[in-house]
């Protein structure tokens, strides 16, 4: 493919002389014995996850009635969580795909982890569309398969069905993309264990690495398909959140029936995704001492994206109000006024301050470069984006057309349990990944290292080996 090297704008790898060092640094956590810290956090998130599963079990056993929903507010935490997690997922794909297309070399050291984040987030998201069904055991009916119930098919007009296709495509494609990226690194790990003579472990990674040898002919194919995959993933990621937003945009409920939703949701998704990337990266680079690969410059560029998308989201909020006013429809106007000043006004203001005001702090370099502050802000962003979905869903529903049906909504412990449980699941998966897979894409980072020093311990006359 490209014979042109993209000019190096910035030094994305610091205090590193040899390729071997990169391998060593990244592989260290995998080779080392699991430390107490890791065991602790993994066990904890595991427990939280199990609690979530218990709540899910209770819901399925007893019925959706265990939630706080009612005849007027038919969705709340369930779909809020769904949209929230899908949104989180988007940053990963964006970093790995879009930035690859744009030749943003700084993505190389963070794409692996953020892709992992994508996968796990989408896994969490996937739970909810299933779980919110009154009869989850009939989930199969979402698929258009020929059946014996006479001629009976699915509704291709329903955004919910579009979701099914979008989410499954998104999950599987991201999974492939992620795994493809890990194959060469698994090979590296394989060989390191082989060198150390730990053949058993080496074999496991050998299986995972599909027998990768690093032959240039395959490298060139490999790069081509990575590029095409990013080419496919980019519109895919946009389409996914567009479709998610259509769950609302195609309805007739004031506050949902809004054409601005697709771009607004995508912006929001990237925003929340990068928020989560910040949270994860700050922890990972600290715990795994990867400051040389996930540098301050990385953190800064992420912060800048958060700032940009945050402002976009803020713009969207204001546009909504303008449109409502400009539409001249009392229903529209009312729902937005009610959103900000009605019974659920508090949630609106949480959303607004977290998503629009806090990110503005990133204008200051001092704050961008302070990991503590960045971490705190990233948490706020996550909270804010969860509330954005809550606000859109609940405030629009609880007072729609006929005042006789207006109702309030208050969640039950079951709903909270499931929400918290989904975080448990997410972090549990992420910790497992961080222990057993290279959190930084070694081979891509190596391409960033210019003029390496001569490594030590180069042996001559070594015989070919089969691993």
């Amino acid at each position: 493919m490209s014979h042109v090297r993209s000019p190096i704008r910035q030094k994305w790898v610091t205090n590193t002389e040899t390729y071997g060092q990169i391998t060593a640094d990244v592989a260290r956590p995998i080779e080392a014995k699991p430390n107490l810290l890791w065991l602790g956090v993994t066990a904890f998130s595991g427990l939280v996850m199990l609690m979530g599963f218990a709540m899910i079990g209770w819901t399925i056993w007893e019925g959706i009635g265990t939630w706080g929903l009612n005849k007027t507010v038919g969705w709340a935490f369930d779909i809020t969580n769904f949209v929230f997690w899908v949104g989180i997922g988007h940053a990963g794909t964006l970093i790995s795909a879009v930035l690859l297309l744009f030749r943003q070399e700084w993505r190389n050291s963070i794409n692996r982890a953020s892709e992992a984040m994508t996968i796990f987030a989408v896994v969490c998201a996937g739970i909810f569309p299933l779980l919110h069904m009154g009869r989850i055991w009939l989930g199969l009916w979402f698929l258009p398969f020929p059946n014996t119930r006479g001629s009976l098919w699915v509704n291709f007009n329903s955004p919910l069905l579009w979701d099914v296709f979008a989410i499954s495509t998104y999950l599987s494609v991201s999974l492939v993309f992620w795994y493809l990226g890990m194959i060469p690194d698994f090979a590296t790990i394989r060989d390191r264990f082989a060198m150390k003579g730990k053949m058993a472990i080496s074999r496991i990674y050998g299986i995972l690495s599909f027998g990768w040898e690093g032959s240039s002919r395959n490298w060139s194919r490999y790069e081509v398909i990575s590029l095409i995959l990013s080419g496919l993933a980019t519109p895919l990621v946009l389409s996914v959140h567009t479709i998610v937003s259509m769950d609302f945009a195609t309805s007739v409920i004031p506050g949902w029936h809004t054409t601005i939703f697709p771009p607004y949701f995508v912006a929001g998704a990237i925003f929340s995704g990068f928020g989560m990337v910040q949270t994860l990266m700050i922890v990972t680079r600290k715990v795994y001492k990867l400051e040389n690969y996930i540098t301050m410059d990385h953190m800064e560029s992420i912060a800048k994206i958060v700032l940009a998308t945050g402002s976009l989201v803020g713009l969207a909020y204001m546009t909504e109000f303008f449109t409502a006013w400009y539409s001249g429809s009392l229903w529209e106007r009312y729902i937005f006024i009610n959103r900000a000043f009605g019974p659920f006004g508090w949630s609106y203001w949480i959303m607004f301050s977290c998503n629009v005001i806090t990110p503005q702090l990133f204008w200051f370099r001092k704050i961008r470069t302070s990991m503590v502050l960045t971490f705190i802000i990233s948490i706020f962003v996550n909270i804010g984006m969860w509330f954005e979905r809550f606000v859109i869903i609940v405030t629009s529903l609880h007072q729609d057309y006929l005042p006789s049906s207006w109702a309030s909504y208050s969640p039950t412990y079951v709903e909270f349990g499931i929400l918290i449980g989904s975080f448990g699941l997410f972090f549990f998966l992420f910790f497992l990944f961080a222990k057993f897979a290279p959190v930084v894409n070694m081979f891509e980072v190596k391409t960033l290292l210019k003029h390496p020093k001569k490594p030590e311990g180069l042996k001559t006359g070594s015989e070919p080996v089969t691993v």
Binding site: R5, P144, W153, F165, A187, D191, S220, L232, T460, V467
Partner: protein, 173 residues
């Protein structure tokens, strides 16, 4: 098949490119280069054709597109026309999202699977390495002995361009 290979091991990708440049200018055909990461600008020296995976991806995409359109049109147009919310049975605008998703799905997966088949990769396949460090920090130029007339010249080039180890070995693949 069994091959005898002349191999030069490097630790610097720049040197590898230099070596390849020299060798090819002497008309030596490169068997393969093994590297921990893709060395940009290496393809011309390998003399390998541009991969046709892109074309494959396109075809798979079209396949997905057709599948989606025919499925939905058949179901709603022929098998089961329905009055859903007063919309016409064939409401094409609402077919767009699913059509797009299936296109992407087919293209992506079709292409990747093809890649694994072409490169003959599968879970558990054994890797044959000329050097255990070739996935870490060692770069290897391999040349098919039977295809070169003047081995000395080749070794000389390895020498000049800073290969730290030059050897001959049997390679089964």
């Amino acid at each position: 098949m069994k091959r005898n290979l002349l191999i030069g091991k490097y630790w610097d990708p720049e040197a590898v490119l230099e070596g390849l440049d020299k060798l090819t200018s002497q008309g030596v055909r490169i068997f393969d280069v093994f590297s921990p990461f893709p060395i940009h600008g290496i393809d011309p020296y390998l003399g390998s054709k541009r991969t046709r995976l892109t074309v494959a991806a396109f075809i798979y995409g079209c396949l997905g597109f057709l599948t989606a359109v025919t499925m939905m049109s058949l179901i709603y147009g022929v098998v089961w026309p329905m009055n859903i919310g007063g919309k016409p049975a064939l409401a094409f605008p609402s077919f767009v999202p699913i059509t797009f998703e299936l296109t992407v799905l087919f293209a992506a997966h079709g292409m990747v699977i093809t890649f694994f088949i072409v490169g003959s990769y599968w879970p558990g396949k054994r890797a044959r390495l000329l050097d255990i460090r070739q996935t870490d920090d060692v770069f290897i130029i391999a040349i098919d002995k039977s295809k070169v007339s003047d081995e000395a010249a080749v070794k000389a080039v390895f020498e000049q361009t800073g290969a730290y180890d030059i050897s001959e070995t049997e390679y089964v693949k």
